[in-house]
């Protein structure tokens, strides 16, 4: 038997291929020009910008036997991931030199993880999802452990690895059950078979489903699978924390969303409630525990748990509006969180990382600009208009309400009010206390650019979100 080998069309996957190439080139460049670090980040930036442009021009298509789908939904998430990469790259220059991290592998590992995310975003098959996930995760494990002399970084990396491995195993067992029940790993195929065979309420299928969403919840950092978040965010290099809080989370939501939407749309009744519970639990844990944090990275970690909970509100709605709300939210969250981390990095210096909340006391006096920007990001994270955070939250609440989850929304809103307390605490420290040390932050061009970008994003999307929201909403057409 001869099987002709036919090359599938590579057009749809071209951005990923190009990105892989960039990653490889970076390694080579690093080898050839070990001293020229600017080049690495510049190349990465160039690649990001180029790819974003390329992505916007991509037409919906699918390749590799429908395992890889390019649609507005995936493009949107890829753009989020690339923006995350872009911002992280901008942030990293200053941070890497402070922490003395090697640049070469750093950028290429980040790029490979983004490739993994992009594959996740486009994946329509559980196998590809799993592999994309692992590609992303393995790169991130390495990046988290990049500060080899810093015990916290080691600890974070090992912990992340252990928990990530466990969640992968859970996910895989779930996939195996789904595969066995349906005979396929293709999401659309699963959906089709489930409704044809009428096995939607089969406990075995549900178990498989539960295991899989547990795995995804781990990736997005939702309770009760959030335990890695604070420790890893805390221990990881700050630029990586920033990266992790945005890109992998977005990718996690991308597959989560696609899994629910394409794989189990008819099971909405069941997963709606469980996701509501997970969402509320995440908001509760995130917001409440964040109240007693003293380290800014940990605080932002808990806040990111809470925000994962908010983002889940869109998914639980199970409507295309809900998904676009989640997407919007993640996009906005990327900007505001990146901005906040940019400030964290800004305050970091070789002798003192200034990660304690106490270090922010009197920032408005010593570094008024930094304080003002942090204020904007904090209010945005709280969801106070006219910042983008409000628009995102509004959209989510609206989607969840439209789907009938009134009580969930009310509780979410109350948690949101609680969250204001710890965001405000930072503002209070910055504006209403006296500085403890004279410290003038240094703005490197990259950091300045990152701050500018995130500020423009947060304010711009807060005031004129119209066209952007339309884009997000249009991404769901065809779903």
């Amino acid at each position: 038997m001869n099987m002709p080998f036919t090359m599938p069309p590579l057009g749809p996957i071209m951005p990923e291929i190009l990105l892989v190439c960039v990653g490889l080139i970076l390694i080579i460049v690093d080898l050839l020009y070990p001293r020229n670090r600017e080049l690495l980040s510049q190349l990465t930036l160039l690649a990001c910008v180029g790819l974003i442009a390329l992505l916007f021009n991509q037409k919906p298509a699918s390749t590799f036997g429908n395992m890889f789908i390019v649609d507005p939904y995936s493009i949107f998430f890829k753009v989020i991931c690339l923006i995350g990469l872009l911002m992280t790259t901008l942030l990293s220059g200053q941070y890497l030199s402070i922490e003395k991290i090697r640049h070469g592998e750093y950028y290429s590992l980040m790029i490979f993880s983004v490739v993994g995310m992009m594959i996740m975003a486009s994946a329509a098959d559980l196998i590809v999802i799993y592999l994309g996930l692992e590609l992303m995760a393995l790169s991130v494990y390495c990046l988290v452990g990049l500060l080899k002399d810093d015990f916290r970084s080691n600890e974070a990396a090992v912990k992340y690895f252990l928990m990530g491995g466990f969640s992968s195993a859970i996910l895989l067992f779930g996939i195996s059950l789904l595969y066995g029940m349906t005979g396929t790993t293709d999401l659309a195929g699963i959906a089709r078979y489930c409704s044809e065979a009428g096995i939607l309420n089969n406990p075995a299928l549900l178990t498989g489903f539960a295991l899989v969403i547990s795995g995804f919840c781990f990736k997005v950092g939702a309770a009760p699978f959030h335990f890695w978040t604070p420790d890893i965010y805390h221990g990881a290099p700050t630029s990586m924390t920033a990266f992790m809080s945005v890109a992998p989370k977005a990718a996690g939501f991308a597959v989560f969303g696609r899994f629910l939407m394409t794989g189990f749309p008819e099971l909405h009744e069941q997963w709606g409630t469980i996701i509501a519970v997970i969402a509320l639990l995440s908001m509760g844990v995130g917001n409440i525990v964040a109240l007693s944090q003293t380290n800014i990275k940990r605080m932002l970690a808990y806040s990111s748990i809470a925000h994962a909970g908010y983002a889940l509100l869109g998914l639980l709605a199970g409507t295309s509006e809900g998904y676009s709300a989640t997407m919007t939210y993640l996009f906005i969250y990327g900007f505001m969180n990146m901005g906040a981390f940019a400030i964290v990095i800004l305050l970091c210096s070789a002798d003192n990382r200034r990660e304690s909340l106490e270090d922010y006391k009197g920032l408005a006096k010593s570094n008024p600009m930094a304080a003002f920007l942090m204020l904007i990001f904090m209010f945005s994270l709280t969801g106070i208009p006219p910042t983008a955070g409000f628009i995102g939250k509004f959209y989510l609440l609206k989607a969840a309400l439209a789907a009938g989850y009134t009580y969930t929304v009310i509780i979410a809103v109350i948690f949101s009010a609680i969250s204001a307390y710890f965001y405000l605490r930072l503002v209070r420290y910055m504006y209403m206390d006296d500085p403890q040390e004279e410290f003038v932050a240094q703005y490197s061009p990259g950091l300045t650019a990152a701050l500018a970008l995130s500020t423009i994003g947060v304010i711009g999307m807060g005031i004129l979100p119209g066209s952007f929201l339309n884009l997000a909403a249009r991404s769901l057409i065809g779903f």
């Binding site: 928990m163 549900l206 539960a210 295991l211 007693s292």
Partner: protein
């Protein structure tokens, strides 16, 4: 709108504004504008009186003050018989007090302020009197209260003065509480607050009822009693009389003008003005009569023992005001207004006389330290005597005519409490004579009981003080001539003049009864004077022995029946204590604030304990995650 009518209130207003703003620069000259303006006002008022007498009435709106939906109230003036009388009283006494004050207030701090406030008071009182609707009446009503507050508290650095001013305002507010509800009820019944349409249609509410909180009352009764609440407050009747004696903290001219002649009579004016409403309700009339009678007796008994000369006069004022209410209560409104008119003069005279004495005594007000002032202050002596005779109802003096008319009307009236009122009134007539002459004798006769230094400085007050006294004395003697009853040859002009507004009393005493009553009351008065002479001239030890014989009665009277203390104990203290200990400490802090602050505290505590779950050990995390997986699987089972 004729100009003279506008001048009457607004010239004092202008004088107030100007003096208040620029008085500091004018210094000791700042009295000119107020005096001139109030004198001009008086002239205009007199002209207005003549106009009214010739049958010319005005009821005209100046502009629409408030209009909201179907409600519309104007600022407008009503000039009729009642108004014109009041205008005369207010402007004449105000003018005299203004002039008197130049002498009395000489050298005081805030001289200009005093005159400014006097002008403000005059304006307010005139607005009260002139208004053609209830709301404007209320405006004036409150504005006089304000002026009174400011003038009582003129010596604001004295705690007692500041307290007294505040007390006057607040107690008045309690009365106004009823008043304004009365206004609402009037509006609800008539759809307007203007006098003219209300009084024109008043009979339509005669048999209607008003229900609130399940209690149904006759509508006119409700309106009348609510309005009467206001009158009680303003005219210091029981149980809201407590502010008036304290108000004596103000400079004496103020007491004369505001707390004797004009402002305190606003309550009577109100009842008289609303006589069509009151007349519809026998209940209300009875209540007024009874309140009047009790107050009359009550205040007179207190006045018997007071030693502060201004307080004696103050209680006598309360008592005399009560006469006016008795008159109104028995439906003899014109008699009430007549007494208002005469009382204004003799009581102002009494007060100004007191002021003159106080001036002479260098602000000593206690009668215990006076005596024998006759030879030092002759003009004051004679005018004071005339006033005392007038208030005691000695025939021929103003007080005689008005008081006797009231008593006669009370006796024959068809109001149930009329006889009772007559009895009390007659009794009090004797008491009035007694305490007036007690005061008179103690001040002017006998030996001087003050310090030598005071004695050395004793002299008659300057002319600017004595001339108003003399002018007022003329009034105190002659004011009664307007209403000499027919029985002794008069033609009862007063009643006829006011008849268009105040109507005709229900019953008239026959001449014989009137004469008998007159004799009874005159003899009561005479007995009072005699007793005073006996006790304080003839036999100075007698008061002491009486005091010892009836210690409880004396204490009750001397301490004003402990009403202030009672109020303090039963209202003021409990309210403030309730506020401090219940509302603030328990409800606001212990309950509401505790919930408000407790929630974050609880959340914080939860946060602290949830934080411990994140203990750093991966195995535990993994176990929790595993538990989470099991939880989700079981949830899904249950869901399926």
């Amino acid at each position: 709108m004729p100009t003279y009518l506008l001048i009457i209130p607004f010239l004092p207003l202008f004088s107030f504004v100007f003096t208040f703003l620029f008085g500091k620069r004018l210094g000791v000259q700042s009295h000119w504008l107020p005096i001139i303006s109030v004198v001009i006002s008086f002239c205009c008022a007199f002209y207005a009186f003549l106009q009214v007498k010739s049958g010319y009435h005005i009821n005209q709106d100046l502009y629409t003050w408030i209009s909201s939906g179907t409600m519309s109230v104007s600022v407008g003036f009503l000039l009729d018989e009642l108004t014109s009388v009041m205008l005369i009283v207010v402007t004449s006494i105000s003018a005299l007090v203004h002039i008197y004050s130049v002498g009395y207030m000489k050298g005081e701090d805030g001289y200009y302020r005093f005159f400014a406030f006097l002008s403000l008071f005059t304006f307010s009182m005139l607005m009260l009197v002139l208004g053609n609707n209830f709301l404007q009446l209320f405006f004036g009503w409150e504005a006089v209260g304000l002026s009174s507050y400011l003038l009582i508290g003129f010596y604001y650095e004295k705690v007692s003065a500041a307290d007294a001013g505040k007390k006057a305002f607040i107690v008045n507010r309690i009365g106004d509480f009823g008043f304004i509800l009365g206004l609402f009820l009037i509006y609800a019944s008539f759809g307007t607050l203007h006098y003219e349409p209300i009084f024109a249609h008043v009979d339509q509410i005669a048999n209607q009822t008003f229900t609130m909180l399940g209690i149904t009352v006759n509508l006119p009764t409700a309106i009348a009693l609510l309005l009467f609440c206001g009158a009680i407050g303003k005219s210091a009747q029981l149980p809201l009389h407590v502010w008036l004696p304290d108000a004596m903290e103000g400079p004496t001219p103020v007491s004369a003008l505001i707390h004797a002649a004009t402002m305190v009579t606003a309550g009577v004016f109100l009842v008289a003005r609303c006589n069509p409403v009151f007349s519809l309700s026998m209940t209300a009339l009875n209540v007024i009569t009874i309140v009047g009678s009790i107050t009359c007796l009550f205040a007179a008994t207190i006045a018997l023992t007071q030693t502060d000369i201004k307080r004696v006069v103050a209680y006598s004022t309360i008592s005399q005001l009560a006469y006016m209410f008795i008159a109104c209560g028995v439906g003899a409104y014109s008699a009430g207004v007549f007494h208002l008119f005469t009382h204004a003069y003799f009581k102002a005279l009494l007060f100004l006389g007191c002021g003159s004495i106080i001036l002479g005594m260098h602000h000593e007000q206690d009668v215990k330290y006076m005596g024998g002032l006759k030879k030092y202050m002759p003009i004051t002596y004679w005018t004071f005597l005339l006033a005392s005779l007038s208030i005691s109802g000695v025939p021929g003096f103003a007080g005689f005519f008005s008081k006797d008319e009231i008593l006669a009307m009370a006796f024959v009236s068809n109001v149930g409490a009329g006889k009772f009122a007559w009895f009390i009134g007659t009794l009090v007539a004797g008491m009035t004579a007694f305490y007036s002459f007690r005061l008179f004798f103690l001040i002017f006769h006998g030996d001087f009981r003050g310090t030598q230094e005071q004695k050395d400085h004793l002299k008659e007050s300057p002319r600017v003080v004595t001339v108003p006294l003399i002018l007022l004395a003329v009034g105190a003697v002659a004011a009664g001539n307007f209403g000499i009853p027919a029985v002794i040859g008069g033609n009862a002009n007063w009643g006829h003049f006011l008849e268009p507004v105040l109507g005709h009393p229900h019953a008239h005493p026959s001449h014989a009864i009137e004469l008998i009553l007159m004799i009874i009351s005159v003899s009561a008065g005479a007995f009072g004077i005699f007793l005073a002479w006996k006790m304080y001239m003839k036999n100075p030890g007698m008061p002491q022995s009486i005091r010892e014989r009836f210690p409880i009665l004396y204490k009750l009277s001397f301490n004003k029946y402990f009403v202030d203390e009672m109020y303090g104990f039963s209202i003021v203290k409990p309210v403030i204590g309730f506020s401090r200990h219940v509302i603030l400490k328990i409800i606001d802090i212990a309950i509401i604030e505790n919930i408000v602050n407790g929630l974050p505290r609880i959340i914080g505590r939860v946060s602290g304990s949830m934080r411990k779950v994140q203990d750093g050990l991966v195995s535990h995390y993994l176990a929790y995650m595993c538990g989470g997986v099991v939880f989700i699987i079981i949830w899904m089972y249950v869901g399926a």
